[in-house]
Symmetry: C2
Subunit: 201 residues, 2 copies
């Protein structure tokens, strides 16, 4: 078994990557998280792009552990805000991690923006860094519309105000399985499959 470090403490992300590998018949890779390795100093996420942040996290994790490492960074890019909140999605309201404040602020900023200009996308970058230092960085996008009132209790972050293209439900009204099948993170991680398959081999 090749151990692959996913640079996260989020158990749901570990399960998601394991499920994606299994669905693609990639066997022989054991996905572990930051809780499974000795602690190391983690750099703050202050890059200008999702790709910068994902790569920096994966590089740190691979260097600190000697393991192949995957990391991701994601957020919402709103057309009427020129692609912001973007890398600042988690701290859009000025403090980090207050989902409700971030969502309320975004709705307030967009209050006067007409329906035809409320497009946007969830965006995720995923990076894979191997022990030999080689790097792969990919991006997944999930286009949709920012609605005017939150709906749904699944997911997190901006899920309750995002209706994916082709859907009438918000991403907070989709099941975890439905969301995984289409989501920005799922799309990005699946783009890493060719490289991850080599690891297994």
């Amino acid at each position: 078994m090749t151990r692959l470090l996913l640079a996260t403490r989020n158990e749901k992300k570990l399960v998601e990557l394991r499920r994606i590998l299994e669905a693609a018949d990639v066997t022989g890779v054991e996905v572990i998280g930051l809780a499974d390795v000795p602690p190391f100093p983690e750099a703050p996420e202050t890059g200008a792009t999702f790709e910068d942040n994902a790569l920096a996290k994966a590089v740190d994790a691979a260097r600190a552990t000697g393991l192949p490492a995957v990391a991701d960074d994601s957020g919402i890019a709103v057309d009427a805000l020129n692609g912001m909140p973007g890398v600042l999605s988690a701290r859009w309201s000025g403090k980090h991690g207050d989902d409700q404040a971030n969502l309320d602020l975004l709705l307030g900023q967009l209050a006067d923006v007409p329906d035809e200009r409320r497009g946007g996308a969830f965006v995720a970058a995923a990076a894979l860094v191997l022990p030999d230092g080689s790097e792969t960085v990919v991006r997944g996008e999930w286009r949709g519309t920012i609605i005017r009132e939150a709906r749904g209790r699944n997911g997190f972050g901006y899920d309750p105000i995002f209706v994916p293209e082709g859907e009438t439900r918000t991403s907070a009204e989709l099941s975890a399985e439905e969301k995984d099948a289409d989501s920005h993170r799922g799309r990005a991680l699946r783009k890493l499959l060719p490289e991850l398959r080599k690891l297994a081999g």
Copy 2:
């Protein structure tokens, strides 16, 4: 005397335009404001650009009064926010016109953004619409840096956290005269001088 309507209720803006005309030796134009004409319905500022908003205001004012009309729209465009707050500058915190909340939010969003990525610009668009329907739209920009703590008591909006290029003071520490000489609004309005000169003649 040709009357020129500046579509504003802000007495400081009227004084500013009068001073710019006087400095350019444009005589024979009397600048009046919205308080000097019968009320007419004003469209909300929901355009995607400063130019859209300035032009919409000037068109409304010229149509309603039959006078040549000037209007402006302005805000701050921060590089690390892909040019936002932009047209949403006055309602960045989600409610309209709370300067302190808008400024505090911007500082919070930029807290982790390093010094070398804190550039930005004050931007103003100004539009002139003549009774014959002809339109001129111009833009003025004032580049600078977004600092980390507010300084100064002059001006309004984001002035206390903006240090113009070539300055060590914030634009809230400049005198009104110093600010006018360089500011985005002054630059935009002066670009209208050739057209305004024709009005006088």
